[in-house]
């Protein structure tokens, strides 16, 4: 355990440094900035017809939680691990006195930190700028409510952790992990995450829990239309259904904890047992 605690923070710090200095990270920073840009632009465009809470909720759910969070998290989780393997620098770690658990958990933690940094920056810009629009009365009658404004924080904190754990498990085990990650985001998170709640399978997605936490966090009155649309969608159009079909915050947190835990156990299971060769062809 001493070796683990010695190596783990070193690997986290080194990986974060490598990722932040990578040019591809800039691409994802630019992509993340699309969210506050769209949120601000939509508020300015539609502010005379819709409440700012409604606009913020729609953009945050559609662009941030269903788009940015899974894409950014999956990319960084997979790339931090796969680049270490593909570049063969992993050889120095696995042949040194570094416990493999420290390698994989270090990579996972670094990916989470980078995601929090990028997604947090995007969310912060939206949170800082949108109230200004309301306060100045710019095409809005009332300012955005605090409850709605801060509703994305909890899911934005937890969802990247789950996605990164899943991405790490893919990357540790699979050579084409980036493709698998993309298929997972589109095929599982988008498609399965959009099945009627009654089917139950939706609770196995990260996006369902993130949506639920966000749904329960927003102001019920200020974002009434958004909540109504969510309920109708969650129930498959049955208006007599209640929000019981949307998991409570504690259930959503539990779901994410289970998904994260299972993915990390699988990542360690594969990562501790597998041989990682330093070359595809022998000498």
């Amino acid at each position: 355990m001493t070796a683990f605690f010695r190596c783990y923070p070193l690997i986290v710090a080194q990986t974060v440094r490598e990722v932040l200095l990578s040019k591809r990270t800039l691409l994802f920073v630019a992509l993340a900035l699309a969210y506050p840009t769209v949120a601000i632009f939509a508020s300015m465009k539609l502010g005379d017809r819709e409440r700012i809470d409604e606009i913020f909720c729609g953009v945050t759910l559609g662009v941030f939680f269903q788009g940015l969070v899974p894409i950014v998290s999956m990319f960084f989780a997979v790339s931090t691990v796969r680049e270490e393997i593909a570049s063969r620098t992993l050889v120095y770690l696995i042949t040194g006195p570094v416990p493999r658990a420290a390698i994989w958990l270090g990579k996972f933690t670094a990916a989470v930190l980078v995601c929090w940094l990028i997604l947090g920056a995007a969310l912060s810009i939206a949170i800082v700028v949108l109230p200004m629009l309301g306060e100045t009365g710019f095409r809005h009658d009332v300012a955005i409510t605090e409850a709605t404004l801060y509703a994305p924080l909890l899911p934005a904190l937890l969802a990247p952790v789950a996605y990164c754990a899943i991405g790490t498990a893919f990357a540790v085990r699979l050579q084409r992990a980036m493709i698998t990650g993309a298929v997972y985001v589109v095929g599982w998170e988008y498609v399965v995450g959009s099945t009627p709640a009654q089917a139950g399978v939706r609770s196995l997605t990260v996006v369902d829990s993130a949506r639920a936490m966000f749904f329960h966090g927003v102001d019920p009155q200020a974002a009434r239309q958004f909540r109504g649309a969510m309920l109708e969608w969650a129930s498959g159009g049955r208006r007599n259904m209640t929000d019981a079909l949307i998991p409570s915050i504690s259930d959503a947190v539990s779901n994410l904890a289970i998904l994260t835990g299972v993915a990390l156990v699988l990542a360690l299971w594969f990562g501790l047992r597998r041989d990682y060769d330093s070359s595809s062809a022998d000498d």
Partner: protein, 309 residues
């Protein structure tokens, strides 16, 4: 090659490894306690596979690999005693040499890691370049940086996979001298190469590897002695080659003789008897024997012979 009382630094016991259906190494057994041992084989012989097995990067399909009595994959303490210098030269390219070596030393729990890294890099003649980014290093500098990583942890077992690759003549000379020094310091060093004279310059203790199998092991002259069925070629520089050839050709221990203008090349079946005879003939002034030179006791010819055998 192992000492009778000390625990071997590295011990392979009937090790075989398959890559899918392809055999990497087959039934390898040997041990090293200290000093430099050369792992010699052509490309594809399985040298890097053996390095990977020794470092714990790969697990054997059959048999066991032990470093100081423990499989390297089972113990971080044991891996702390291994210094691997792999054949590939990949790094975190944005780091400087000293930052990378310091990072590796910190992972290994080396106290005063940065100071130790600077000392090792200085020993490897990298002191003026260690603060530059690795991405701008030449092949030779990268080789030395890899070796610095192996040395900075104070490893007792050094696994150097083709350490002379890419080095200029001065760098090669320095590296050869360093490897010999490490062996003299009592470290166990397994150094691989496919270039015979390189290995010969570093050590006379060899493992000859071919197609995943150990062809021979021991000192160069011991390996040579194992080849009793092979005719040794000896050149005798002489004033009267035809007369000497007549004397030699009738002897049972001489398999054949080639006569040239000022020399005789004899194919010798029993070296002991031949050298007794040639010593006696050397006293006879009629032949004028000037020099006796074994032509193929060097490593390259031994290896070539063993591979063909």
């Amino acid at each position: 090659m192992s000492g009778p009382t000390t625990q071997p630094a590295l011990a392979f016991s009937r090790v075989s490894l398959w890559y899918g259906n392809v055999l990497g190494v087959s039934d390898i057994s040997f041990s090293i306690s200290s000093g430099v041992v050369g792992l010699l084989g052509m490309n594809g012989a399985g040298k890097s596979t053996m390095m990977k097995l020794a470092s714990g990067m790969l697990r054997p399909s059959i048999g066991s690999v032990e470093v100081f009595g423990t499989p390297p994959q089972d113990s971080t303490e044991v891996r702390n005693r291994i210094g691997l210098c792999p054949d590939m030269d990949r790094f975190y390219e944005r780091m400087s040499g000293i930052a990378w070596v310091t990072f590796m030393a910190r992972l290994a729990g080396v106290p005063s890691a940065k100071q130790k890294a600077a000392e090792v890099l200085d020993r490897l003649d990298m002191s003026d370049r260690m603060h530059k980014k690795i991405g701008g290093y030449s092949k030779g500098m990268r080789q030395r940086t890899k070796l610095a990583r192996a040395l900075v942890v104070g490893a007792d077992l050094l696994l150097l996979d083709e350490p002379l690759n890419g080095l200029d003549p001065i760098g090669r000379h320095a590296m050869i001298r360093l490897v010999r020094e490490l062996g003299d310091e009592g470290k166990a060093v397994l150094v691989s190469s496919h270039v015979l004279h390189e290995v010969e310059a570093m050590t006379d203790r060899l493992l000859l590897l071919h197609q995943g199998r150990i062809l021979a092991e021991g000192k160069v002259h011991e390996i040579r002695d194992q080849l009793s069925e092979r005719a040794l070629q000896v050149e005798v520089r002489v004033r009267e080659p035809r007369g000497l050839a007549r004397q030699l050709i009738g002897a049972d221990h001489v398999a054949g003789v080639d006569v040239e203008r000022d020399r005789v090349v004899a194919r010798v079946a029993d070296a002991g008897l031949f050298f007794d005879q040639i010593t006696n003939l050397g006293c006879d002034e009629r032949y004028g024997i000037e020099a006796i030179v074994p032509l193929d006791a060097d490593l390259e010819s031994v290896f070539g012979y063993l591979v063909r055998k």
